[in-house]
């Protein structure tokens, strides 16, 4: 009996290997921010065409790139989603592993909301306020332009900016592994950070130090890492009206009855304001296609066509229903063309 079991296990393994030699469904990995959009497209694609529904793993932008760049062949993913652009180092790694031609498609924008409970008054923040409230080190409050840094002394919003309420700083946000955190650091923190002339000057002299000052978030309590789950942050904000939370715009939209987005530099996180670029904390979303797999894995071309169609990413498309902020029409047309012609990316 044992021999039989062993035999059948072996047969299973061999059968699996034979099957792995060809794959009939698209395999997608990457950002958890793009995941809600890519999955909707995949589902529409699976229903409307004769192809199987793509399998999508939410691995984070960096993890997705790592898998994507590991090589060419059925055991490697065909597409990776990213909530930031591919890095030079990642591109080089792709090249080194034989993933020569990569097609870059930008799909739209995602706003990052800084929100609190509707039970509390709405915040009107500037990026500078956010930087001062959340950075690990800030310029000495006594002489901000002296070039001297001190560990963040601020405990309440009023200390940061006298026009803000006298409430303890308490911000729930994503952990360092999250793309949302990277984008927040880059767009909000850095945006506020470079309003100090001497830090801005650093950017060209000592880029490393500049980044270390602008992107480091304090670890002494006021910034609370709340995990990757944005729903959790939403629940905690409802329970604690004094806290602010940082998460993607689609979660704010879904919970608009309980939460309100703070104004950043006087602009509210609203659909139109993010779409026209006036809301400062928004980032582009991408996906990358392995050109070598087009034609070898069935359906990639058709999946691209579905994603870049107006009924998906257009102003009235189904992705907009899910919270994606669409690109301007001209940009859409350019990327739809890139998807049709599979124009490879050059960095």
């Amino acid at each position: 009996m044992k021999r039989m079991l062993f035999g059948s296990a072996l047969a299973l393994v061999l059968g699996a290997q034979a099957q792995a030699a060809s794959r009939d469904a698209i395999h997608i990995v990457g950002s958890s921010t793009v995941y809600p959009f890519a999955t909707v497209v995949a589902e529409h694609f699976g229903r409307a065409t004769r192809f199987k529904t793509p399998r999508i793993e939410s691995t984070g932008s960096g993890g997705g790139m790592k898998l994507f760049c590991a090589g060419v062949g059925v055991n490697h993913p065909d597409i990776t989603n990213a909530s930031r652009r591919i890095k030079k180092s990642e591109f080089a790694k792709c090249q080194a592993n034989g993933v020569k031609e990569i097609v870059e498609i930008k799909i739209g924008y995602d706003g990052i909301a800084i929100a609190n409970s509707r039970k509390a008054p709405r915040f009107d923040l500037s990026r500078k306020d956010l930087f001062l409230a959340l950075a690990r080190q800030v310029p000495d409050p006594a002489a901000p332009e002296s070039g001297k840094l001190v560990p963040n002394p601020y405990r309440t919003w009023k200390q940061v900016n006298p026009s803000l309420p006298d409430v303890r700083i308490e911000v729930l946000g994503p952990p360092p592994t999250s793309g949302t955190r990277d984008a927040f650091a880059e767009l909000a923190m850095e945006g506020g950070c470079k309003q100090f002339a001497w830090i801005k000057a650093l950017k060209h002299q000592n880029k490393k130090r500049y980044k270390a000052i602008c992107h480091a978030i304090r670890e002494d309590g006021p910034y609370i890492e709340a995990g990757e789950n944005d729903n959790l942050i939403v629940k905690k904000l409802v329970a604690n009206p004094r806290a602010l939370g940082i998460f993607g715009y689609s979660y704010l939209e879904q919970n608009a009855d309980q939460l309100q987005g703070s104004l950043v530099d006087g602009v509210a996180p609203e659909f139109e304001l993010i779409a026209d670029g006036s809301y400062p904390v928004s980032r582009p979303l991408f996906f990358y296609v392995k050109k070598a797999h087009v034609g070898r894995i069935p359906g990639i071309r058709e999946y691209l066509a579905e994603f870049t169609s107006e009924k998906a990413w257009g102003d009235d498309g189904y992705l907009v229903d899910k919270g994606l902020i669409p690109m301007p029409e001209e940009e859409r047309r350019a990327f739809a063309k890139a998807a049709r012609e599979l124009t490879p990316l050059a960095l």
Binding site: K2, L5, A9, P36, R55, E57, A256
Partner: protein, 431 residues
């Protein structure tokens, strides 16, 4: 003098008093201990009750799904584009168009493009697919005009179930239309079969647990088929045949150690061995089952050895005494007595494996998979992973589905543990 004389008397009385006094104290302590024990159980049970009540109150509405009744005209010109009534032709029909037309007919005052789009959004995108399946299965429907209950969008569903607190994203106009539908009884809830029939979906009203259940089933089948024979064989060898020396001590320490290793480590091992070295497919229940086997094996070996140890040596001696070989002794006499305990351990190990997500993260089973897996190598996910994915979705309607899926998972765990207890009750021998 009197002191000396009285002393024993006093002492005797003191002892009696002390005993009486101490007795009360000892009884009090006894009672306290018992109360503390009961208190601990009550506290534990009340935590369980709070969890269950909150899950049930949150999840029960997921078992019902809102539908909207509409008068549809199944126009052959739209639904049978080739005009021959063949399956292919019917499948290519414009079912969404038919539903849109019916919505426009029901609310003729809607003219503007923007308003129309809002109107169309009341009905789920899945309604057209369901209608297509219905017509393909029964072509007689073509050309008829009759009322259909169509699946409503998740926002409408939430609005209908939870009132104003539900459909947050519905506009004033949409609420107005829904009120008028409700007034004529054209909106109602039905049992949510889709929840048990469908795979995952990004539309909450279409999402179901069938894919995850099938994935869990295949993965657990692999786990059972591998870990039960391996675990039982290892336990028998170590308990009945292995010599007691440093080497077996070393093996035992390692097995006990493995039982306590965090499960994510098995995932990493699976990634390195099964995916990178053996080239098995990612996201397959086969690999999931292999990884879970690694995880449950120590549990099964340890409980198996305990069950074998519980069989009294007299049984072995008696068998050996009448001339049975070592193998006959084990398989004819010891193993049958130990089997119920071993099975109990196996079932508890399986229940653990059923609730596990961490090791599956590494081998790609945390993924969005719509198609229900049909075999061991199809991409699949498992029930706890499905719960995790839904808990992370922005749509409000996924919250109740998360709770409902947890209830289903709990049901399976309770069933498995119940079987374990029944097995023990039924076959266990007391010595």
């Amino acid at each position: 003098m009197s002191k000396k004389k009285n002393k024993p008397l006093v002492k005797r009385r003191a002892i009696r008093e002390a005993v009486l006094h101490g007795l009360a104290r000892r009884r009090r302590r006894d009672r306290l201990l018992r109360l503390a024990g009961i208190g601990a159980i009550v506290l534990g049970l009340s935590f369980l009750a709070v969890m269950l009540v909150s899950l049930v109150s949150l999840g029960k509405s997921a078992f019902w799904q809102t539908h909207i009744r509409l008068e549809l005209t199944l126009d052959p010109a739209r639904l049978d584009p080739q005009g021959n009534g063949s399956q292919a032709s019917l499948a290519a029909g414009d079912y969404a168009g038919v539903i849109k037309q019916a919505l426009r007919a029901r609310f003729p005052e809607v003219r503007k493009r923007r308003e129309k789009r809002e109107l169309y959004r009341l009905v789920s995108s899945g309604a057209a697919w369901a209608l297509r399946d219905q017509v393909v299965a029964d072509p007689e429907l073509l050309g008829q005009r009759r009322a259909f209950w169509l699946l409503a969008d998740d926002e409408v569903d939430q609005w209908f179930k939870h009132g104003e607190a539900g459909g947050v994203r519905l506009s004033e106009r949409q609420r107005h239309w829904l009120e008028s539908l409700r007034a004529e009884g054209a909106i109602d809830t039905f049992f949510n079969w889709a929840f048990f029939r469908n795979g995952d979906s990004r539309e909450p009203e279409l999402a179901g647990i069938r894919g995850a259940l099938a994935g869990s089933f295949y993965a657990l089948l692999v786990t059972l088929a591998l870990s039960l024979p391996l675990g039982v064989a290892a336990a028998i060898y170590l308990e009945e045949f292995a010599p007691r020396n440093r080497w077996t001590d070393f093996v035992e320490v390692n097995i006990n150690n493995l039982a306590a290793v965090p499960s994510i480590v098995f995932g990493l091992l699976g990634l390195a061995v099964f995916l990178n070295f053996l080239d098995l497919p990612r996201s397959a229940p086969l690999v999931g089952g292999l990884v879970l086997t690694l995880m449950t094996l120590p549990t099964i070996i340890i409980t198996g050895r305990a069950a074998l140890k519980a069989v009294p040596p007299s049984i072995r001696e008696a068998a050996l005494g009448i001339g049975a070989s070592r193998m006959q002794t084990v398989f004819h006499h010891v193993l049958p007595q130990a089997l119920p305990g071993m099975l109990t351990g196996t079932i508890i190990g399986m229940a653990q494996a059923l609730g596990e997500t961490a090791p599956l993260l590494m081998i790609g089973m945390v993924a969005f998979i719509v198609d229900v897996p049909q075999g061991f190598t199809d991409p699949a996910t498992v029930l706890p992973v499905q719960i995790y994915l839904w808990a992370d979705s922005p749509e409000r309607a996924f919250m109740e589905r998360t709770a409902a899926a947890i209830l289903v998972l709990l049901l399976f765990l309770v069933l498995m543990n119940l079987v374990a207890i029944l097995l023990r009750r039924r076959f266990e021998k007391r010595w």
